[in-house]
């Protein structure tokens, strides 16, 4: 049975649907990432779960109990805010002890618990520091410590790493992953950063315009995206127009699409018949150099080469008229070269 369940949650702000019929579930101890562009409604969803907003329809269920009408305080969901929302008038100790004090925990137990959490987050000795005296990374850890101290049932993270500079972000992400698995807490977090979602989430829900487009593992999202939005939002994607040549024998099966100069096998999503216009998505690393006589070979001219170390990213002007990105060996081609490329697996197509 899922530990945290969102059942058909909807929320409108005036004309804008911030959440439309959102259903999601997280197993006990699981980590679900909600990934979406800004304005997709992911923060609203997190606020609905935390109880800062009330849904227009739908339910939030925690550990089998309906908490939709419970106050944020009664839910016992810990939250880490995007800008941390640490209390600047309190010390580190005061911040971390705040939730325990609100629960009426005796002073000696508060002291012990705060010490324990601070040790867990590598903050021992920082008790009497003021918030303004901490670096960004330390503030982030205090925010986590504060949320974890009262032993919440669920941990909610709003863009937990977005306020850190890139160098610190990667290290903190590793620490955060280790911490979540050590504490074993059910976690829901939102991010617009795909790498963060892939790295931290057991499963990832892709959100767009208030709707959940797909829920799955990182691999499922990348290899078998359920919609054109997911295909282009997650990972790099080359996009071209095509027509269906041969519909797949079964829904989401492999058929053939006609791009003009070539015909490729494609996993087709949506109801199609012969001649239906579709959008084709090809990952840059799926393209391989091909023999010009191969029927699947697409002719192209190399317009640009960007050297990245182990590989190079080429911009190639293809015979379809579209410019593709192609990832290959750094020595595969030079700008101005004429090349032929073909995908090493069925491409993706969406009606």
């Amino acid at each position: 049975m899922p530990f945290l369940e969102l059942e058909r949650l909807s929320k409108r702000f005036g004309e804008i649907d911030a959440a439309r019929d959102v259903s999601l579930s997280v197993e006990r101890g699981g980590v679900l990432a909600i990934l979406g562009p800004s304005g997709s409604g992911k923060t609203t969803l997190l606020r609905l779960v935390a109880g800062f907003e009330g849904p227009d329809a739908g339910r939030v269920i925690g550990d089998g109990a309906d908490v939709t009408d419970s106050s944020p305080a009664a839910r016992r969901f810990g939250m880490v805010f995007q800008h941390y929302a640490l209390f600047p008038h309190l010390t580190v100790f005061g911040n971390v002890a705040f939730g325990l004090e609100a629960q009426g925990v005796p002073a000696d137990r508060i002291r012990a618990r705060v010490q324990e959490v601070l040790r867990l987050l590598d903050l021992a000795g920082f008790e009497s520091r003021r918030i303004g005296e901490l670096s960004g990374g330390q503030q982030q850890r205090v925010a986590l410590a504060r949320a974890l101290a009262p032993e919440p049932r669920v941990l909610l993270l709003d863009e937990p790493l977005s306020n850190l500079d890139p160098a610190l972000r990667e290290r903190t992400r590793k620490e955060l992953r280790a911490l979540i698995s050590r504490v074993g807490i059910t976690t829901l977090f939102v991010t617009h950063d795909q790498e963060e979602a892939f790295d931290l989430g057991d499963r990832i829900a892709v959100m767009n315009a208030g709707r959940i487009e797909q829920v799955g593992t990182a691999e499922e999202l990348y290899e078998s995206p359920a919609s054109l939005f997911v295909a282009t939002f997650v990972g790099r994607a080359n996009v071209a127009r095509a027509r269906v040549e041969a519909p797949p024998p079964a829904p989401r099966g492999v058929g053939t699409v006609d791009l003009g100069p070539v015909r490729w096998d494609a996993k087709i999503t949506g109801a199609v018949q012969r001649g239906t216009p579709v959008t084709v998505v090809v990952r840059p690393e799926w393209l391989k150099l091909a023999n010009g006589s191969d029927a699947r070979a697409l002719a192209a001219v190399v317009a640009e080469r960007r050297y990245m170390g182990p590989a190079a990213v080429f911009a190639i002007d293809t015979a379809t008229g579209a410019t593709f990105e192609w990832v290959s060996d750094p020595d595969a081609a030079r700008p101005g070269d004429r090349v032929s490329v073909a995908p090493d697996r069925p491409v993706l197509a969406f009606a």
Binding site: P72, F81, G132
Partner: protein, 562 residues
């Protein structure tokens, strides 16, 4: 959700009853005749030449006060913010001193200093061997002198605050584009300072238009509308007093609107997120430094003279000082009298009690109202904000008259009770007058408060009360304390409202100062003035201390961030 809207409506009704209703009743009163309606009072007003003269006097005195206060305050602000010289910090603080001097106390200090038998007049008279005092401190000139002294502070503080927020890189950008010092000043600095300077002008205009103490004491035959209203009321012509009140209110609103128009739009100083103010320029060389120091200390002496005079006069026992240049005998007997004699102590206790009660009520009401506006975002939030600010746009005399009109009748069904002549009318008037200061403080504090902080407290299990007392109030405390201390100071030294509404039992310090002056108990009047000033300064310091703490914290944060 619905409960919040109901609360919003209730608060709007309460504020409307306190603020708008008395003005409305005053309007009705001005067109009422026994058993019907009449325009007779308005006609009487319109056909009386002296009424128009008085209205015009109010207007030009206010405009001239703006010009004079700006001429003193703006250069002083530039000097203190842009140049470094010995004693700059102390002088900078001293220059803000007049703000802590209650209007009536400032006026009597000027009387003791520059009045016909004041120190300076006597000194000049003795030095030149004149038979009479060299000048008479009377009429518009005297009023403007007092206004310039007490109101330049607005321009001074606003100029300094504006310059402190002016990003130095803008000046550097102008310089690198080839602009000289003068061009940078006229094309960059002044345009950017325009909004704060217009703000100071509005503040000065409204204060000068509402000014009562200076015209009352120094006006002589020269009347402005505030003194005219009180005179009409005292002479029993209540209908004329209500018409005059409305005329003054109309001038105040018109002036406020006109000045807002020239506002130069948005405040652009805050638009650059980063950047620091230009560092003050070190004055080099012996001569400039000496000149700066001499000028600085000269200004300081001028600023401190009224306070010093007041202190000196307060130490002169009754009857001990007649024709000598300096008093022959000093003692603390006046202060002893204030503390020993219950009837002399009573005004001090009255003022403290009423100011404290009205400030607490005003802060509470402001906090409730501001929360409904900022956090609750209730539908009537525009009304709530407007009603909170409205008393600021009205001279104190206007509100005093309006409250006197509204609460001199027993009509519980119409929300009117007889409060005039009772204890309650003055604290109520003080409360209304305190609403803008406490309201703005609460609104500004809550608007700057990151809503995530309250949410964080809630998600950590804190209930409403705990969130309010442990997070919200500590966070907006400094802003609230500053607003409360200003409201407390204003009501503690209030003269203009009190003179219309006081009763003998509830007479505040200002009324007692006036009574002492009338009886030529100058020492007693000065001792009251010193007490009032000291209490005001104490309240000001308490309010500022809370803000100072926060400023210190922010500075530490900024240092850390670098």
């Amino acid at each position: 959700m619905r409960r919040r809207e109901v609360a919003g409506l209730l608060v709007t009704l309460l504020l409307a009853w306190l603020v708008a209703y008395p003005l409305l009743l005053t309007g009705l009163e001005s067109v009422r005749a026994p058993g019907g309606w009449t325009l007779e009072h308005w006609a009487r007003f319109a056909s009386a030449a002296h009424e128009w003269r008085t209205l015009w006097a109010s207007l030009w005195i206010a405009a001239a006060s703006v010009v004079l206060a700006g001429a003193v305050g703006i250069p002083l602000g530039f000097v203190m913010e842009r140049f470094e010289f010995p004693g700059r910090r102390l002088l900078g603080a001293l220059a803000a001193l007049p703000i802590a001097l209650p209007p009536l106390v400032g006026v009597i200090a000027f009387l003791f200093l520059y009045g016909e038998s004041g120190f300076v007049s006597r000194a000049v008279q003795a030095a030149l061997g004149l038979r009479e005092a060299p000048w008479r401190l009377r009429g518009p000139g005297a009023i403007l002198l007092v206004h310039a002294y007490s109101m330049y502070v607005y321009f001074y503080l606003y100029t300094r605050a504006g310059l402190a927020r002016l990003d130095a890189s803008m000046l550097e950008a102008a310089a690198s584009l080839g602009a000289g010092r003068w061009r940078t000043f006229t094309r960059v600095t002044l345009p950017l300072l325009r909004p704060p300077l217009v703000g100071a002008a509005i503040l000065t205009f409204m204060t000068a238009l509402a000014s009562f103490s200076a015209p009352y004491i120094f006006g002589g035959g020269f009347r402005v509308m505030t003194t005219q209203i009180v005179a009409s009321k005292l002479s029993g012509d209540l209908a004329m007093a209500t018409v005059e009140t409305l005329a003054l209110a109309a001038v105040a609103l018109a002036g406020l609107t006109a000045l807002r128009r020239t506002g130069g739009g948005r405040d652009m100083l805050g638009s650059g997120q980063k950047g620091a103010a230009a560092a003050p320029r070190q004055l080099r060389g012996g001569l400039p430094r000496t000149l700066a120091a001499v000028a600085g200390w000269g200004i300081a002496a001028l600023l401190l003279l009224p306070h010093a005079t007041l202190l000196l006069v307060s130490l002169v026992p009754p009857g001990a000082w007649t024709t000598e240049l300096l008093p022959p005998l000093l003692s603390a007997s006046n202060y002893g009298a204030l503390l020993r004699e219950p009837e002399r102590l009573r005004p001090i206790l009255n003022s403290l009690g009423m100011a404290a009660a009205s400030t607490i009520a005003a802060v509470t009401l402001a906090l409730v109202a501001a929360r409904l506006v900022v956090v609750g975002r209730v539908r009537v939030r525009g009304w709530i904000e407007g009603l909170l600010s409205a008393p600021w746009a009205m001279p104190g005399t206007v509100f005093a008259m309006a409250l006197a009109t509204a609460f001199s009748v027993q009509q519980p069904w119409a929300g009117r009770w007889i409060l005039v002549g009772t204890f309650w009318i003055l604290p109520l008037a003080y409360l209304v007058r305190s609403l803008p200061l406490t309201g703005w403080a609460a609104l500004a504090g809550l608007r700057q408060l990151d809503p995530a902080l309250e949410e964080a407290a809630a998600s950590l299990g804190a209930g409403r009360w705990r969130t309010l007392t442990r997070v919200t109030i500590p966070m907006i405390g400094p802003a609230l304390a500053a607003g409360a201390s200003l409201a407390f100071i204003m009501t503690l030294g209030d003269f203009v409202t009190s003179i219309v509404l006081y009763t003998y039992e509830t007479r505040p310090i200002s009324i007692e100062i006036l009574a002492a002056l009338r009886e030529f108990d100058l020492g007693i009047a000065a001792a009251y003035g010193i007490c009032l000033t000291a209490l005001s300064a104490l309240a000001f310091a308490l309010g500022e201390r809370r803000r100072g703490e926060r400023r210190g914290e922010r500075r530490a944060e900024r240092r850390e961030a670098r």
